[in-house]
């Protein structure tokens, strides 16, 4: 079934002092408080992180719910903002493939796909035997997902004690942490160009198409970066 040694190694990979646990925790703490403030009860707030586990999507859901958007509109808005998960999955799961592993592991563990877990896996996969990378990934995913759920619970419980300034302060942690992590992963021309162009084009496309800006900016920057990398090789 699951090789416990590799699973535990993945589980423990978030305990380092510079792990994404802090950024992840701060963000989901804020989500827990936000969901309580817009009228979700305890079970609904926890379920939101348990079943969705995607911060931008949960934010869009909360905003759409507040303005009374229809279910179809919410579905499209969430799907658009979470569409980044598709290229993230395509660029990671081929690294975890093994004929010794059953397919169900891949389809269940894809729920753990998030920026934090993806960046850890991309950084560490070479150190793991390829037949057991999926078990290592399930360990990382369980750890980051559990942190998100625990932080949502904490955020819900302490929401009455969080001032507006504290909420704003918590909201900056996630973008700063992951932006630094992305800059740190610029190891070749293609990835470096992807990160720099994506950073510029995301907000640029927002001016013409707020809903599609992440997809337009990301895909355009990615294609240019890919060719830049190919010509450089």
């Amino acid at each position: 079934m699951i090789r416990s040694g590799f699973y535990l190694k993945g589980l423990l990979s978030v305990r380092s002092v510079d792990s994404p646990a802090i950024a992840l925790g701060c963000s989901f703490l804020a989500i827990g408080a936000l969901l309580k403030n817009i009228g979700f009860n305890f079970q609904q707030s926890v379920s939101s992180t348990f079943f969705t586990y995607a911060l931008p999507g949960q934010l869009v859901m909360a905003e759409s719910f507040l303005v009374g958007a229809s279910l179809v509109n919410i579905f499209i808005a969430v799907w658009l903002v979470n569409a980044r998960l598709f290229p993230m999955a395509v660029s990671m799961f081929p690294l975890l493939k093994s004929k010794k592993q059953p397919k169900w592991k891949y389809y269940i563990s894809c729920h753990f796909l998030a920026v934090s877990s993806w960046l850890i896996m991309k950084k560490d996969y070479r150190t793991i035997n390829e037949n057991y990378r999926i078990d290592f990934w399930m360990g990382i995913g369980t750890a980051t997902w559990s942190i998100a759920i625990f932080s949502t619970i904490l955020g819900y419980l302490v929401s009455d004690y969080l001032s507006k300034d504290m909420m704003i302060g918590l909201a900056i942690v996630n973008p700063v942490y992951f932006f630094c992590m992305l800059l740190g992963s610029m190891k070749n021309i293609a990835i470096g160009t992807s990160v720099i162009l994506g950073t510029i084009l995301g907000p640029v496309f927002y001016l013409t198409s707020p809903e599609w800006c992440i997809l337009y900016g990301g895909v355009t920057a990615g294609i240019i970066a890919f060719f830049a990398g190919e010509f450089n090789d």
Binding site: F40, H111, I168, P175, M181, S194, T199, Y206, G218, G222
Partner: protein
Amino acid sequence: MTDFSSNIILVIAVTSVATYLSRSLGVLFSERIDENSKIFRLFDCIAYSTLAALISKVIVFPAGDLGEASKITRLIVVFVCVTVFFIAKRNLVYPTVLSVILLTVLIKYI
């Protein structure tokens, strides 16, 4: 169960399905992709650039509480934190902690 409660449950269900769809389609598509192929390298670039686009959009045009801080404040915080990240030899702890402190201080003055 009230209408409000059942509405929230439906909203959570719809959000979860929309999110799982991207993840599972990615796994399905990746079954036929080799890690040494050009298509894998293309998706790698798109994944990194999409994340960068998302993060910069959150910083420049945020939704939620972060929008309460002015744009210049957010950009100063990010610029200082990135500088600290490189000065501290890519240590992630210093910029993360500094970002909260700096933003909390700056929103009182800018």
